[in-house]
């Protein structure tokens, strides 16, 4: 029963280094093709354009670690953007208060998902599919389909479009959330319980860990982060519309799975997710510099996702293949 020297760490470690290698390779290739690709400006472009997807991917990582999924974060981003606009323009709240209330709404929406999943023990896929169309529907209903929120104060737009101390203004928010989620997943008992729930929900309950409370935490957290992403999205665009964040949940899931996190739960890291987001962001940005059409970016992302999946189970296939070959070779009893 010999296993790789330190199995758990090695498998994980290897997926990330290879992904890092792919990201670096991408970067160098696009730098050779597009002259301005390597410039500092462009690197900030890449960062600014991937903040929302990055936040949603960060929100999704703990959820997928527990073996769950959340299809509603994209629609929730749209709903929060609308509510943020309404709080500010119609209710007349100052920006920071409006943002805080939006994050509150995000937490409530996450709470709705959490309660259906934990109280009624419903599969997360179906609950979040229901809230996916409910949140989008509410966003369209609140704005009666027409209303959009614009001409936000310059100070707020600064957050989305300008530089602060040389880096994009929204970068600090993203970095803070990234570090927060990284610490939560890798350095706290909560993160440890997320993995345990992902590997064996029953076993975790027998170990005296409150499984329902932990699951509620990850979904409420996802709701709040989606709200933060909505505020940053509105600042970057200067406008809040009902169709904000359309399809963002699929980009987020792609980034998380590309980063080596298993959709079945348990295995996965936050740095892997960040690398996944980087890989997709560089690809999309680089292809514009390489003057390739948008569709190529979509196709390559799909292909990358399938290869990342295949590589995550390649060792298993080779192991079973080797085992089958070995038993057929020698029928003699295996000495203990």
């Amino acid at each position: 029963m010999n296993t790789e020297k330190h199995g758990f760490k090695a498998a994980l470690f290897r997926h990330e280094t290879v992904l890092l290698f792919v990201v670096v390779l991408e970067w160098f290739y696009f730098n050779s093709v597009g002259p301005r690709f390597g410039s500092v400006d462009n690197s900030f472009d890449i960062m600014r354009h991937s903040v929302e997807i990055g936040l949603l991917a960060l929100a999704m990582t703990p959820i997928i670690l527990t073996g769950g999924i959340d299809l509603s974060v994209g629609s929730l981003l749209g709903l929060c953007a609308i509510l943020f606009g309404k709080f500010w323009r119609d209710v007349g709240m100052p920006i920071p208060l409006a943002a805080a209330c939006t994050i509150g709404v995000g937490a409530l929406a996450g709470g709705l998902n959490a309660s259906l999943i934990t109280w009624l023990r419903l599969p997360p896929l179906i609950v979040t599919l229901g809230t996916f169309s409910l949140f989008r529907g509410l966003a369209e209903a609140i704005t009666r389909g027409v209303d959009t929120f614009t001409n936000f104060p310059a100070s707020f737009l600064f957050l989305g479009q300008e530089r602060w101390l040389g880096i994009p203004a929204q970068a600090p928010a993203f970095i803070v959330v990234a570090i927060g989620i990284w610490l939560l997943v890798h350095r706290t008992t909560f993160g440890r319980s997320f993995r345990a729930i992902g590997f064996a929900p029953e076993g975790t309950r027998y170990a005296g860990i409150p499984v329902e409370r932990r699951l509620a935490l990850v979904y409420v957290l996802a709701g709040m982060i989606a709200a933060i992403a909505a505020v940053i999205y509105t600042a970057r665009l200067g406008q809040a519309k009902a169709d904000a964040g359309m399809g963002y949940e699929l980009f987020a899931i792609t980034a998380v799975v590309l980063g080596g996190t298993s959709i079945f739960g348990g295995v996965g890291t936050v740095q892997g997710t960040l690398l996944g987001v980087a890989a997709i962001a560089i690809l999309n940005n680089g292809l514009v510099h390489a003057r390739q059409p948008r569709e190529v970016a979509g196709m390559l992302t799909g292909v990358l996702l399938i290869l990342a999946l295949a590589s995550s189970i390649l060792p298993k296939i080779l192991a079973t293949w080797r085992a089958r070959r070995q038993t057929s070779l020698n029928k003699t009893p295996v000495t203990t």
């Binding site: 999924i69 259906l116 009624l120 023990r121 419903l122 599969p123 896929l125 179906i126 609950v127 599919l129 229901g130 809230t131 996916f132 169309s133 409910l134 949140f135 989008r136 529907g137 509410l138 369209e140 209903a141 704005t143 009666r144 389909g145 009902a242 699929l250 899931i253 792609t254 799975v257 959709i263 079945f264 059409p293 948008r294 569709e295 190529v296 970016a297 979509g298 196709m299 992302t301 799909g302 292909v303 996702l305 399938i306 999946l309 295949a310 189970i313 296939i317």
Partner: protein, 309 residues
């Protein structure tokens, strides 16, 4: 009676909506618009039947929208190049079959999670089609629409095809062993293996069959109009999954009836025209659909919780 409780409750809801419409907006019941509503929903019903089987087998396929678009454009191009219609229909089904089989190989062969595999194939196929066609409409030769028949005959043919397929599949899932194997694998794949059923082969065939049905549905869509819009099929996967869930198919596999899916689809499909008739603003449609799905999901949750506890 009890075993059909879930499907009958959806049928009751549909009846309620239709009655409300009869009272509030009798204009809804003119034959002509109803006929064209059913004709347009016929391809969706065919895809919904396939999706029901996929979900009963405890899997999911969100790439059907892209498959639908690829098959529609392919069929349109073949028809435009003068291929005879029967051959075009066969080609469309084969295209679907190939794409479905590819999904099936990844999910059943390599044991990859179906949600992520079909996410990847959805994005890849959709973007590849856009890259090749750039959104160009495909103009069809004259004889294609309604297969050269009159409009009425064409519409009836499509509706009959869809209903016949629904009945055939409902019978197959009831009386054909292969149909029952899908339920067995969906409810407990390991027990199925011990009983001599081959779970991987069943899962693979469910995905391949899904592709074939999408190919057929694409053809049924192409013959409805003189040109093919490459963006057709966008949002199809959510529509059919919602129809299956509202129709009582359990995502945990092993449970669900095709006629329930039919009723679920009708319920969701008649929201938009109903809103128009009841003079309710268009932007309420998505919210109402979301509410119906959540209601169905919560109802299932409460019912299961009462049974198990």
């Amino acid at each position: 009676m009890k075993r059909h409780f879930r499907e009958l409750s959806v049928a009751a809801a549909l009846l309620l909506v239709l009655l409300a419409l009869a009272v509030l907006a009798p204009a809804f019941y003119q034959p002509q618009p109803l006929l064209s509503l059913l004709t347009r929903e016929a391809p969706t019903l065919v895809v919904a039947c396939g999706m029901a089987l996929v979900i009963i087998c405890r899997q999911i396929d969100i790439s059907v929208g892209s498959q639908f678009a690829v098959c529609s454009v392919a069929a349109g191009l073949l028809a435009a190049n003068g291929w005879p219609l029967p051959l075009v229909s066969l080609a469309s089904v084969v295209f679907g079959l190939i794409m479905g089989a590819f999904n099936g190989w990844l999910v059943a062969g390599l044991r990859l999670p179906s949600i992520v595999v079909t996410l990847a194939t959805m994005v890849t196929w959709r973007e590849a089609l856009r890259w090749l066609r750039q959104g160009q409409f495909v103009n069809l030769p004259d004889g294609t629409q309604w297969l050269g028949l009159s409009q009425l005959a064409g519409q009836c043919m499509l509706i009959v095809t869809a209903v016949v397929l629904l009945v055939a599949l409902a019978l197959a899932t009831k009386h054909l062993a292969a149909g029952r194997f899908v339920y067995a694998v969906g409810t407990d794949a390991e027990a199925a293996r011990l009983a001599g059923i081959r779970p991987q082969l069943t899962t693979f065939s469910v995905f391949a069959f899904m592709g074939a049905l999408v190919g057929l549905a694409a053809m049924m869509n192409v013959v409805q109009s003189p040109q093919v819009d490459p963006k057709s099929g966008s949002g199809l996967e959510l529509k059919v999954i919602a129809a299956a869930v509202v129709g009582g198919v359990a995502v945990s596999g092993g449970r669900g009836k095709l006629w329930g899916v039919f009723v679920g689809l009708l319920l969701l499909a008649c929201i938009s025209p109903a809103l128009t008739h009841l003079r309710i603003e268009a932007y309420w449609e998505k919210a109402i659909q979301g509410a119906i799905i959540l209601l169905a999901v919560v109802a299932d949750g409460v019912r299961n919780r009462k049974e198990t506890v």
